[in-house]
């Protein structure tokens, strides 16, 4: 059984088509990483799954419950960790968890014991009486996640849960996700960090401009780009001066410039790099740094869209 099933999902805001005919599924018990640059449609898709937005067309199910026809049942199976901290800063960590637990229908001793469990999971049992407003960014993120775990949901959606936090809290959150998944929880995880998606995900879906452009396991996606190597280059002058020349260079399949950094895909970097250096010298352009990477999800995105997967 698929924990999440998305069928031909569409969402338009006036003339803007934010999500276009997206279909994919998340198998029960797996982690799916949803990747894409800003504006790709990830948040809109998640908003439709969590009941915040109604689809223009199409439907989705959470544990078999349609988000449009049985929203309450779908929501009861779902825990949502929003990208921004959505907690009450003047309430303590425990008070926050108690409140959110009640919103999921928990009461009495069951609620109290579950809050104790969640505080232990997120590692904040000793700070439970402190107001959330006094917590560090990482601690707030952990409470933010804890609030979505209270009702032991079958599915949890995490929207960029590690943005802007210290490495220690990030590690704690990633370990939590793995542990929850090992306990049987299905996770839909969006992130900008390729290494997080690679580390956590059983399957990865990549969105761009409102469309699903790739879906598969990490290895399946990497094979899309073959053995191509990614080369990141920075120059001491405007990239536009040399990009037309480099695009014609034999062995360069894709090349793009973002924020002053040029990213190229090459079949064989050992043979390509001398050509790039030669043409730069001929045009009096100085290469100030160069970075060669084996194929990864960034490479996949570049291969599929011709653009780098960066903010």
């Amino acid at each position: 059984m698929n924990a999440i099933e998305i069928k031909n999902l569409n969402k338009s805001f006036g003339d803007l088509k934010a999500v276009q005919d997206v279909s994919f599924h998340v198998q029960t018990g797996e982690v799916l990483g949803l990747l894409g640059p800003n504006g790709a449609g990830k948040s809109t898709t998640i908003s439709m799954l969590s009941g915040l937005l109604n689809p223009t067309n199409g439907d989705a199910t959470i544990m078999g419950h349609s988000v449009t026809k049985e929203p309450a049942a779908a929501k009861a199976s779902l825990g949502v960790v929003p990208q921004d901290i959505a907690l009450y800063p003047d309430l303590s960590a425990r008070e926050n968890l108690l409140f959110w637990g009640k919103m999921y229908g928990l009461r009495g001793p069951a609620l109290q014991s579950r809050v104790d469990e969640v505080l232990s999971i997120i590692g904040l049992a000793d700070r439970q009486k402190d107001k959330v407003g006094k917590f560090s960014g990482g601690m707030k993120r952990r409470v933010n996640i804890g609030a979505a775990l209270l009702h032991k949901p079958a599915v949890i959606i995490m929207d960029e849960p590690t943005v802007g936090i210290d490495p220690q809290s990030r590690r704690h959150i990633l370990d939590n996700v793995k542990e929850l998944n090992q306990q049987g929880m299905t996770v839909l995880y969006t992130t900008h960090y390729m290494e997080e998606a690679a580390e956590l995900s059983h399957h990865i879906a990549i969105m761009d401009q409102g469309k699903l452009i790739a879906y598969g396991t990490y290895n399946e996606l990497i094979t899309l780009v073959g053995e191509q190597t990614r080369i990141d280059i920075t120059l001491n002058s405007e990239a536009e001066k040399i990009l037309p020349t480099w695009r014609k260079t034999l062995g360069v399949s894709k090349i793009d410039e973002t924020d002053g950094r040029i990213t190229a895909l090459a079949d064989d970097s050992n043979r390509i790099l001398p050509r790039l250096f030669d043409s730069a010298a001929e045009m009096d352009v100085r290469i100030t740094s160069i970075d060669i990477q084996e194929p990864n999800l960034e490479t996949v995105f570049l291969h599929l869209t011709g653009r780098a997967l960066r903010d």
């Binding site: 969590s50 009941g51 915040l52 309450a72 049942a73 929501k75 009861a76 779902l78 949502v80 929003p82 921004d84 901290i85 959505a86 907690l87 009450y88 003047d90 309430l91 008070e95 409140f99 959110w100 009640k102 919103m103 999921y104 229908g105 009461r107 609030a147």
Partner: protein
């Protein structure tokens, strides 16, 4: 149940906020307190102003063959020793004019009254030179005026009795009846008693007296004390003003939640949106009710204010809560952000409060009639009028019209605001 949980969470948030508590309770009490101290501060209901110290020298004697039971001087003197004036007049007798004048010079007394030796005899024969001398400390104004008024009233009564007696004797003689002189003292006493009662009734009636100089007796409520009355009206105005602020600011929590992401998170839980909105509205109602109750109790115990009959108070408070909550919900439903909310609510509610008469609540007749008409177009104006009626002792039946207006406008505003919110967060 979730509605109650949301309301309790909002109330916890409100009462942990120093700003919210300040706006709800501290500010109205502080503003009223400033006025309280400006009026002298003592308003316990036992004494409303310092007692006037009166020194008396009564030299009057009973004239020969006078148809009086006691000399007029004794009647004048006894006025200052009756129990009803004791809270605001302290009288003492002096043996001679020298000691009386010394007491006045040394400010042991504020007013000296000298009744000359043959005052009754001269007064009864119509000698215009017969005078009771009233001397006073030049730094005092109200006390001497009161004493002079009392003496004048007494002598007017005696003169009136004389005129009444002459008229009676003239009419008896015109009808061929020989007046029985044995009855004359009883007639004069009867007239004087009637006149004293008339004066007392006239000047003790709040609707007729320009200035009330009486301490409350056992049968009167504390609102007859002018300072307490001013305090009551002042705090009523402040309470209404800040009740409308509390209603609006409590409702503004929905904007805060929308901006902080907690409202969206609430919508991702299996909680009906109607229940979420109902929880927010319930918190507004409870906040305004609690604020009103706290101010009513504090006003009573801190400033000695008597708010009126419990049924009337309950009606006024209920109307206030509905009107304040309704306006708060309506205004916030059209405000886009909490940043926008501050100035919009501050300006809007202050303007409505001023138009409703809340800033001049302790001076009901100070404003032009047009302003009173304008006040009728604001919810605050109706709430204030209801409280004024309750504090003036109006029966509950008289409160039904203003209550119906508050209820009607409050519910209409609440409904419009609710519909706008439903549309906004659908």
């Amino acid at each position: 149940m979730k509605t109650l949980d949301i309301a309790l969470k909002d109330l916890t948030h409100s009462f942990r906020s120093v700003f919210a508590v300040g706006m709800m309770v501290v500010a109205p009490l502080m503003l009223t307190g400033l006025i309280y101290f400006a009026f002298g501060g003592i308003s316990s209901g036992e004494q409303s102003m310092p007692a006037v110290k009166v020194g008396l020298l009564n030299l009057d004697e009973m004239p020969a063959n006078a148809q009086l039971e006691v000399p007029l001087g004794d009647n004048i003197r006894s006025m200052f020793f009756v129990g009803s004036v004791a809270p605001w007049i302290t009288a003492s007798d002096y043996a001679d004019e020298t000691s009386l004048r010394r007491a006045l010079d040394e400010q042991e007394i504020g007013v000296a009254v000298i009744i000359p030796k043959d005052f009754s005899a001269q007064y009864l024969i119509g000698n215009k030179e017969a005078q009771v001398v009233v001397m006073s400390d030049p730094t005092l104004s109200i006390g001497p005026a009161v004493v002079q008024n009392m003496v004048t009233s007494m002598l007017d009564g005696v003169s009136g009795a004389g005129i009444a007696l002459e008229t009676l004797q003239f009419r008896q003689q015109a009808n061929g009846i020989q007046p029985d002189t044995a009855h004359i003292p009883a007639w004069m006493e009867g007239y004087t008693t009637w006149y004293a009662d008339f004066q007392r009734t006239l000047f003790h009636n709040p609707n007729q007296a320009a200035f009330i100089m009486v301490a409350p007796s056992a049968g009167q409520t504390e609102t007859t004390d002018p300072i307490q009355k001013v305090m009551g009206l002042t705090l009523a105005g402040q309470m209404i003003f800040f009740a409308f602020f509390s209603g609006a600011f409590a409702m503004m929590s929905i904007l805060d939640e929308s901006e902080n992401g907690t409202l969206a998170r609430l919508f991702t839980t299996p909680t009906d949106r109607t229940a979420i909105l109902a929880g927010k509205f319930l918190a507004v109602f409870i906040t305004v009710i609690m604020q009103g109750l706290v101010l009513l109790v504090a006003g009573h115990y801190v400033f000695g204010i008597s708010w009126g009959e419990p049924a009337g108070v309950a009606l006024a408070l209920t109307g206030q809560v509905i009107a304040a909550s309704g306006l708060g919900v309506l205004m916030i439903s059209f405000v886009k952000s909490s940043r926008q909310g501050g100035p919009v609510l501050g300006g809007g509610l202050t303007a409505l409060g001023m138009l409703g008469g809340l800033m001049t609540s302790n001076m009901p007749n100070a404003l032009p009639a047009a302003m009173n008409t304008i006040a009728k177009f604001t919810p605050q104006g109706w709430v204030l009028e209801t409280w004024q009626m309750v504090m003036a002792g109006s029966p509950v039946t008289d409160l039904l019209v203003p209550f119906a207006v508050m209820l009607g406008t409050g519910l209409v505003m609440f409904t419009l605001g609710s519909l706008q919110f439903r549309k906004r967060f659908a």
